[in-house]
Symmetry: D3
Subunit: 291 residues, 6 copies
């Protein structure tokens, strides 16, 4: 039996999920294909190597357990020893791990490992930056479902590593009634009631509203969580005043790092940002052989 | 038997690959999970809907066949009719497809479809921009293996849709001897010879060099394709002069849209850009119900 | 692309989930193995058949979409036409569907289809019975994670078809802090706080208590949902009085159909019953060829 | 490479089958989903735990190798040491295994492990009870294909652990010509001949008969194994006398623990009972942390 | 849901097995990889084509349903119309099917389809030849488990198409006690008894013997099926006389087409030939575009 | 995480490919099915065994890493120690490996391991023979895509072990424009140009010609690699003279071991032989328990 937990990285609260196993398997399969021609042709299968994994730009390290899992799938003898803590920030460049083992496996896995690491560290770095912008307010920055296909669990992990929070993980992880659902259900009240009947005890039904009138209707149905869709900052403030604590409010749509702090100061409980995952950019890493 | 080809989009030269099937399957599984709670609770399984797929920012449309495949996996009765051509550029915003069928399937697949579309269109748009920057030179912009895990085949398709070219698709798709291989093999000459012995008739062995001295050695081994790793623009010019057509040259490392045109004018044959895939950003799309 | 939705049964709110596809695939693979020897040897591949699917004992019909999906995987030409509504109760025996198509596919899929149908209808029937026992109280009967391996999504669907509710669908679908978590976290307060920090906006953290003292502590942490583990009926009543609406309460442990009504009358909000899924028994069905 | 054999449990003759691997994988995937939220939030990945696996009701222990495989898939460092023998009976309650390792993996796997164990022990217990009822007769109790979807190999293993025997494992594991096959083939004689032509040397063709007249025809075709479908006990006796050892006889249909002994005393060779698997009920187990 | 039955070929008794689906999927994946570069580059996705599938050497046609399934997986619009019957022999060369549909799918699937067809037709042809050599004797030629990895179900189908019979399909499909089992079990009698206890009603236990003394012991245990391992023809004759109908006998080991007829005339019931599958050779086919 | 590299055999340059893992998994699944009945019934799970893997006919050993992987998947405790080098030739018969571990796993994996070994050694042996026939010429023998379904990566590995070379590994591994592509593209020149535009820097476009006239056209397009399809030996000589080194030439079609040497002496650069893989035959091996 394979194991879902990367033992060497037990200190990171890393999700033991079959989805993570699946994307690692797929990423290696698509890169290695029928075999690593160059390495097979030029490097002895008996050669051992030691390499440093280098962070080359300012940001938050995220993804070491994935790096370890990538190499473990290629060859169980590859050892990845962390030199920096998952989630730590560095501004100057540093060695984040030392990798030793068969040179062939290290060469074959290098690009796939880096592709995961640079992306997850990019998401963690963006999340940290966003979180810093709302410091001093009661608002919490959270992510969305606008993630990279196949990377959902990992990107939401990176958001947490960066200090932000997670919205629901998928369509089965809670209720978010959007405009199209409302139209199909015949109105906000009807839709919220239908969802509440279906909801498990641990689920709070959330409903999206597009103006203050709809907000009123949502509050009157007893909705405890309301998404303000594309509200202006002024309308957000009005919504907070109007709601008066009867429901928690999430600001969503049209928010960027430029106006995030202003949005947070309106008094909303949550600000969701698709950009945390879909536009985070990558953080530069490289792998350098030291022997 | 499932079919790998998205019939409705036969006009796009879309790769019929099991990797594409795998990432679509994984993306839907991670988003839908055990089922779409909100849609199940609020929308009748008999409801029909019509929706417009809207491009909301300037860029190149790329990914309609994936959109169709996402919905087809949810429900074969969903129809996706293109209103714009895969690969076409738009600067103002437009409807790119009309989607009709069961409302439940359209609601369940919406986010996954958009997550693919926004990313692939982002890559195609970046590729088009890069290609425009080298117009008038003999250089060809190509991608790298710095792609999103699980998205290799699709992102390389998007690069082509945007007008740039593909470098090798994976470690089994040709030989690229890098510094670490050279060290392990005991020198450039030795590594190139080993690779040439293994190469299939249709494979050209490529070797990476880091200075003009190594370039000399590479040329003398008969290498027909040489990667100039992190050369300055001046050194690239020197390399082109020095090589005198005995090999084709690829510039790689430290190249961005800012210096791309200058690099292209040095006379190199190829300029490879990781940023085409890892930092392309997304192009904004939305799905709006019209009935 | 395969489709996750059983089109013919759009009137049932049936979960379009990859888990459902997986268990159907596995069930057919384990029964058919390398091929149906008897049918291959004795029945012409050109023979057509019509068969009635018969309910033979009193209970709630549940699983027709799975029956359709089983046959569809064997041969797309098999048609399953419902003669009774998913979720309807019958006390005397009836035809619930008519099945027509190639005799070979019907014979090969018969046992697998019945194995699903008899079990899901058993769960739906048990759920209906339990729901009837709490009629007139404010308590809602809900299921647990004590389901049959591989059948989670389907059995929870059957619970809903029978009129009861679902507790969380898996370990990723909400927080339920049990005794062992409390011990490991260093106490109720500490554990609840840790979970609340991690919880998404739509998640309510639930905590298990084993006596009235722990209930006090749970309430004081602001836990909005509390599981009373193996409380006596008298203690449940005390807990309800004590909580005074500050949290919703779930009774769990040691509850059977014998004492369910009494438990419900204590005023708890939820009663969870593992027996809905693990001891529901099966409802008898058969498939009879009519031509 | 994963290994199919649970090394720690080599003393149980446990089937090394890819089907077993598949259902364990599916069961964990459906329960863990994207990750165990509660455990991740409240328990340190470094915490170690020791837990006792307790049998809480009278019955036959069955499923320890599956318990070990479930935990091994989550974390290879979890150790499961048996304290009772697979297949042993206990009437009072006992510790059946001690489990040690990372607390997180034990908490995450607990429910899935118990869901397998309670069901398999239920089947083994029912099988033992049925076997005891036929003691002193020449009849052997055997199972059917009326098993839980996905659990075929494991449930048939549990039947053997309980002391009963297995009928064929699937449609590819021998020939059983039923009424519908007979009709499609144009009669008993024709169908039996067709099956005998196809049968491998090690396969005995079995044919189902519904009355003594059909029994005659079956015997005359040389069928060596005949299933008496829904015969009354009196007719079973007549069939045994009539057959006079020319074929072995299997009683099937309408048999429960109430009339099993009487059926066995008719002199039939086999009595098949769907209830061994589909109505066995579960045996109660729990997992309790001891440190 | 995908379908396991190739509808267009219902006249061939073709196994609907997940193993068949798996090898077709694997074969296409390994050949197509990330996409068919040449076809994508040179052929319009709108081009339609008609092609003839040609048999170019004398032999038995076997594998048309697989050809259809290969193309169906690439594109559901490809039509494969048989022009010759599965299992028919041809001595001169002929068109066996006409294939029409998108030119791209036909070009992409051509080699994979031919690779299946040439091999299965080779096995069917060898099986027919072997069967002809034993004509007039009571012996039946059967296959072994010496098949091509991944092709078990298909090659055993080809053996039947060629007129020979199948031995057991796998290790779970009956009991064959070999020398090593006998040694481990402590003798023939002990091993046969152990297997008979475990055997399902429809399974006949077979035991391998290496000399006439062991044959005596096997007969005395009541073994009904005995494999004569590497017996000389003279010893086979002696074994037949000695057994006197108390068991059926299988000759195995050291048998080729050269001595097959002589072996069959010894009076054994079965002659098993690994060469039917592992050394059958291929039958030449090609695909030629006619428009 | 499973590992793709067979650690024990690091001295063989063996492809670490998911395709290899897939065919080993499939081969074991199809043979073991629901479990090894005979071994389970007759051999104690605690029995240990030592066995010799014997080569019984003259040829090249190929496939030991696969043997090791087969047993490792069944039980990680099985040890396979090579006694002969992968790729070595033997003319008399020899022990090639010693296998020790649980007797059950060795018995269960024996046939699957041998089925791989006999076939791969057959391909390696045929490749060595072909290579010897062209000794002294400049021609290199290469394989084709006429491989066994599912065995592509392994058979191409065996070809290399035997000393011959590989042509492209699949449709995504380079461009080979055949007659049908030419027709669909509207001529040689047009097709070659289209392919060259699409080709990655490391890909050489190959085009098939059927006569000297087409050869002229191919040369004039600048094609650097040309396949001479079914040319007579005389025409090959003419083609070599005509081409005068402007392109490399591959002879293909109608070539067997009988005329291979003659073809090689024409001066072509490559001779491709489908028979290396599809008609190689098997090399006989057996597994014998020594204790």
């Amino acid at each position: 039996m394979t194991t879902l937990a990367p033992s060497a990285f037990a200190t990171a609260v890393f999700p033991a999920s079959a989805d993570v196993e699946a994307i690692i398997r797929l990423a290696l399969a698509e890169d290695v294909g029928r075999g690593d021609l160059t390495t097979e042709a030029t490097v002895s299968p008996e050669a051992q190597a030691t390499a440093d994994l280098l962070q080359k730009a300012p940001g938050v390290l995220c993804g070491l357990p994935v790096v370890a899992a990538v190499f473990a799938r290629l060859d169980a003898r590859v050892d990845v020893t962390p030199r920096a803590a998952e989630g730590s920030f560095d501004a100057r460049g540093r060695v984040v791990a030392r990798i030793t083992g068969p040179a062939t496996a290290i060469l074959t896995g290098e690009r796939t490992a880096l592709n995961f690491l640079q992306r997850l560290s990019g998401v963690a770095t963006a999340s940290r930056r966003a979180t810093e912008l709302v410091a001093g307010t009661a608002a919490r920055v959270i992510d969305t479902r606008k993630t990279t296909p196949g990377m959902r669990v990992l990107e939401k992990y990176a958001v947490r590593i960066g200090g932000a929070g997670n919205h629901r993980a998928g369509l089965d992880d809670g209720f978010l009634i959007k405009e199209n659902h409302i139209r199909a259900a015949g109105g906000i009240t009807h839709a919220v009631r239908a969802a509440q009947r279906r909801a498990a005890p641990g689920h709070v039904v959330e409903v999206e509203v597009t103006n203050l009138g709809e907000l009123d209707e949502a509050i009157s149905t007893g909705a405890a969580l309301i998404l303000l869709d594309n509200f202006s900052v002024a309308d957000m403030r009005a919504a907070v005043a109007h709601t008066a604590g009867l429901a928690r409010l999430e600001a969503s749509g049209g928010i960027s790092l430029d106006n995030l702090a202003e949005v947070a100061r309106t008094g909303v409980d949550f600000v969701s940002l698709g950009a945390l995952t879909h536009s985070a950019g990558v953080l530069d890493f490289s792998l350098e052989f030291v022997s």
